[in-house]
């Protein structure tokens, strides 16, 4: 029986998995540095990049490339105790091969799959619902997602605006995506505040709000349908639902669901601290 305490990174998690598989002891919990101490004996794991990388490659080679992606993406979800679920899948994967990925009615796989579906939905929503403000030539935006979708959004926006400078801040996980004309990076950032907008920016915001109001047909008003497609939790950072003052005011306290990760990018690309293109 093992209780792991690790740094919250994907590399750290894979190091724990390596240890658990090697020692053949069942892990009972994976704790983050911020979690309160337990009565159990804890194993503090230092992220070992070399081991993590070997294990990560083994996922693709010994199970399947799709399985490797499943684990990496699964780690970005906000599934409670995702580490335990992913560990179970990895162990089964090494025993049974790619079959585990197809066994969608397996309770653990079903749970991970559902979490992934929700994450992709959130990603898909945010691709559209994110709003940037042009502040002195830099496009600045904020999100407050449940899942850690920023690494997934990064490549989308870097490709979409190859000639722009961008900053997108994730309030939940306290990290920022920074892109300078196609070159991008994810950086941990404890504090973030959007500056005041200039006249031109305010003018475009006003036009967008006006357009948004105009396009709705009065005879068809349907707030229920609107809320189904655009859940209210996204609206507190969307230009069309806010005044300029609200957009620029101090950050509200982080919501309860927030669970800060210590820095830590997590796809393979960032495993070695690579910079995306």
């Amino acid at each position: 029986m093992n209780v792991y305490r690790y740094d919250g990174t994907f590399a750290g998690f894979l190091t724990c998995v390596w240890d658990a598989l090697e020692s053949r002891a069942e892990p009972t919990a994976f704790l983050l540095p911020a979690d309160s101490p337990t009565l159990w004996e804890e194993r503090a794991m230092e992220a070992d990049r070399a081991r993590a990388r070997r294990l990560y490659t083994a996922l693709a080679r010994r199970v399947s490339p799709a399985f490797q992606v499943l684990i990496a993406r699964g780690f970005l979800t906000c599934l409670p105790e995702k580490e335990l679920a992913l560990f179970t899948l990895i162990r089964r994967g090494f025993q049974e091969g790619d079959r585990v990925r197809l066994d969608l009615s397996d309770p653990v796989m079903a749970r991970v799959n559902l979490a992934l579906t929700k994450m992709w939905t959130e990603w898909d929503h945010l691709k559209g619902f994110i709003r940037f403000s042009d502040l002195d030539g830099v496009l600045v935006g904020e999100i407050e997602p449940k899942n850690r979708v920023l690494p997934l959004l990064a490549s989308h926006f870097a490709a979409r605006y190859p000639c722009e400078r961008l900053v997108l801040y994730d309030r939940t996980h306290r990290e920022a995506f920074v892109s300078d004309r196609g070159q991008w990076k994810l950086l941990p950032a404890e504090d973030f505040r959007m500056g005041p907008a200039g006249t031109q920016e305010r003018a475009f915001r006003a036009m967008w709000r006006k357009y948004y109001k105009t396009i709705a047909i009065e005879g068809r008003l349907n707030p229920k349908c609107q809320s189904t497609h655009l859940p209210k939790r996204y609206r507190h950072v969307m230009t069309e639902f806010l005044t300029d003052e609200q957009l620029e005011q101090e950050l509200p306290e982080q919501s309860a669901q927030a669970r800060p990760l210590e820095g830590a990018p997590s796809s393979l690309k960032q495993l070695d601290g690579d910079v995306g293109r």
């Binding site: 969608l104 396009i215 609107q226």
Partner: protein
Amino acid sequence: MEVMDKLTILADAAKYDAACTSSGVVRGGKPGAIGTATNSGCCHTFSADGRCVSLLKVLYTNYCCYDCAYCVNRRSNDVPRTAFTPRELAELTIQFYRRNYIEGLFLSSAVLKSPDYTTERMIEVLRLLRTEYHFNGYIHAKAIPGADPGLTYALGLLADRLSVNIELPSESSLQLLAPDKTKTAIFKPMAQIRDGAAQSKAELKLYRHAPRFAPAGQSTQMIVGATPESDRHILTLTEGLYRKYRLKRVFYSAYMPVSNHKSLPAPAGFKPPLLREHRLYQADWLLRFYGFTAQEILDEDHPNFDAALDPKSDWALRHPEFFPVEVNRADYEAILRVPGIGMRGAQRIITARRCGPLSFEGLKRLGIVMKRAQYFITCSGRMLPGLRFSSDSVYRRLTGLEQVALGEEGWRQLSLFDGNVG
């Protein structure tokens, strides 16, 4: 006039167009350009009426030389008129796009002077966007019926999707309400777009740099509820459009009273037939993704939808011989026909059953919702244990579910519906 005022007038005039999709074409980022496009499109917000806002949907101008009875922009209507300049509109699109407000531009127009002149102005907007601003995002342009085919072709080279509205579901209705438009004038550009797109596709196979003509295909829209066509008529027409003109989408727009024309339903007390529109969209999905034909969904004996039931459940209840479907053996097409199981659910069933037989517990874990499906499936030869029903009680339970799903407002629409309310 300020751009803000123009935007207000020209967005207001364009809002009755139902289409606002940005789907059907994939384009990655390009160095030096701005924008991408994804196959499934992207919704950027939802307006208070619950409709997706994906594109900046505006008219180039609302000065119109036509006088169509159902249209807000008809020349006899007394509304403020204006027009963008191509530069204004291109700049606005880019600035909205940079801020991620929109996925691209949906440019339509009233007919200013002549169809040719209007198309030329629209081409100028698109040319500015594509060549000067290096805009690589989505553009949907409306082809103006009656314009020179050469101009429509030029428009299609700059746009991703073209559309021609057929406006009304039959020629007699068209004559009655849109005397300036004829069936041939509408179907001619439609055929041209179909052939142009097919030719462009064939050429692209031979030459990588062949010009791309309307790569995201074409769509159309018709107004429902202003004229007396049956649902069956509309659905059969839709099916024909998909088959014959290779349309990507057909949109339906519940008639909104915007004029007092003597041939139209009176504005006073008239409610737009939103539930009917909803049912048409449901049936439209069945045509496009679920392998149904229009004849199966509505036949001579059932010319209109049962308003109290979705078309898929309705079909299932009329075809007891098809059910129950055995989820562990049936093929994808058969599973798709089960009410309550959609494409994603059917896909998951096919994948998951490769690892062993599925039970009802397993189905639930796959995310299959049983409320509707339970009456129509078996797992390893057994129905859901403890389930007792007759064909009457299934109808009652399914319509009960539908009542909850539609909510109070939707359910009240039933009284306005011409169908056979159960």
